[in-house]
Amino acid sequence: MVSSVTPSLIISELSKDLGPVPALNNRMLRVLDSVSLQALPGQVTTLLGSNGAGKSTTLACAQGLLRPEGGTIELLGQDPFGDNPDLRSRVGVMLQDGGLPPSMRPIPLLRHVAGMYKKPIDIDALITRLDLESFGSRTIRRLSGGQKQRVALALALAGDPEVLFLDEPSAGLDPQSRQVVFDLISEQRDLGKAIVLTTHLMDDAQRLSDYVYIIDKGRTVAQGTVTELTTLAAAEHENRPVNFGATPSLDLPQPPAGLHLSETAPGEYHLTGVSSPEHLNWLTSWWAREGILPTHMNLQARSLEDVFLEFAQKEETV
């Protein structure tokens, strides 16, 4: 990442052991191995990986909640460890389990936390935005997972922070609240906040991120903008499958070398190995020759998921 902007978060060579683990003869388990990343203001930086990949552990270290075995962390130019109220006042954290007191009601809790800040965010606007009133009379114990998520996000935003850490922000959200949460995150980004979030959902990463770090088994296996990751990373074996629908049980012609045509379900066809315009030409000439007008067709772009799976597979074979 080349930039003249000072990163809000710089993590270098972070390593973390957990344990002792009984299944490993009480040896320590290395959960992070030399993770390096940075987050810029005005950007959403995403840590993408499957469950247990080390995303939350990385965040916990960055927030100063967990002390790493090795590496350095600079959060807004400071050491995140220890009681540092001035630094904490500039950083908002949404924990994966929320950390919400079950016997409290959401709005008094939010107002209490907002009281810790000289200039909190506009709390009333935030309450309306996240529709906290709709379940405001209930204690946190009685809220659904998605409702708790919204409260936890509100707490993270309470102090109008410069850096926002969001651990799996969309977990348990219905599509509507997901949209509200995504809009809020994008707005915060546009206000110049540095947002660091984790997700195991490719779709979230693709929709929200300016920069993605793919984390697998405690290591950063790939990084880049979504576009970089989906187009540049593996250009040499670019492969865009074509899907189309037509009459079932068509007689399939033999495609050019390297391509494979099959009927995946009655009336649903799938052509793989497409890597040049010539290949599309071959497909459409066949349709013209046989008088086939597909009901639908699409050219599947390489998704972040493909990239992720590719790197995960690489890891497996190493």
């Binding site: 909640l65 001035d86 904490r88 500039r90 950390g99 936390v113």
Partner: protein, 253 residues
């Protein structure tokens, strides 16, 4: 002023602690079981000991023998059992972790709890005093200042011990341990009944308990107007040991 300071968006430390103290106090007072433990049971104990002859010989009148022990029981209810259980479950639900990511921090959390313990204790003391005066209590006025001092020292000691348990074992275990301890200490730990009433062979062991030091000190103050140096030493040692262990062993999540 350093650049960090000028950027800070946190309100001042005293203000944060005051806010958290208020929050923790309301949490304690809104908990039904906590109120039974903090107010109802001590008042029942007060009536029970006043209208029976269980404390015969401790003071000329039963009520004067009963009140100091009931106040000691209030300290254990709030600082040890109530606060311990609350903190144990806060830890389970990640509440301590959540607050430690705000400007409140760990220090603010602990001071907030101390304020809540002192506030609830003050309410208990006022209530018990009113009921006791209505029942004809005549405290030794020379003992008032020592009694207040011992209530504070007792609160510090039992808060440290409550935090030690809450921070090291599962919340269900904290619940069991601190409730059981409350019953045992009240009955045979020198809280309500002076240990001179216990079997002789048990006395040296029980004398070393912080509950006995607190109960004896309050009785010495409010019945005889005396200041018990031995109790000060015992309580300070327990408070120091408890705080040291809590700081070393407390797990935040």
């Amino acid at each position: 002023m350093s650049p960090t300071m000028s950027h800070s968006n946190a309100v001042s430390m005293p203000k944060r602690i005051a806010l958290q103290g208020k929050y923790e106090t309301l949490m304690m007072l809104s908990n039904g079981e906590q109120l039974v433990l903090a107010v109802v049971l001590p008042i029942i104990a007060l009536f029970g000991l006043t209208f029976t002859d269980l404390l015969e010989g401790v003071a000329p009148r039963s009520i004067d023998a009963a009140v100091p022990g009931v106040l000691a029981l209030c300290v254990i209810s709030t600082a040890f059992t109530g606060q311990g259980i609350g903190t144990g479950f806060d830890r389970r639900y990640g509440v301590l972790r959540m607050f430690s990511t705000t400007p409140l921090g760990k220090a603010g959390l602990i001071f907030g709890k101390v304020i809540a313990v002192l506030t609830v204790l003050a309410i208990q003391v006022v209530l018990i005093t009113i009921v006791a005066l209505l029942l004809g209590w005549e405290p030794n006025l020379w003992g008032i200042i020592p009694a207040v001092l011992f209530l504070l020292l007792g609160a510090a000691t039992f808060t440290a011990l409550g935090l030690l348990i809450a921070g090291t074992v599962r919340p269900e275990a904290t619940l069991a341990i601190t409730n059981l301890a409350w019953v045992l200490l009240a009955g045979v730990g020198g809280v309500l009944f002076p240990l001179t009433m216990a079997p002789t062979w048990l006395q040296p062991t029980l004398d070393a308990l912080p509950s006995a030091a607190l109960g004896d000190a309050l009785r010495a103050a409010m019945i005889e107007g005396q200041f018990s140096i031995a109790s000060v030493i015992f309580l300070v040692l327990w408070a120091a040991a408890g705080s040291f262990a809590a700081i070393k062993l407390f797990k935040w999540n």
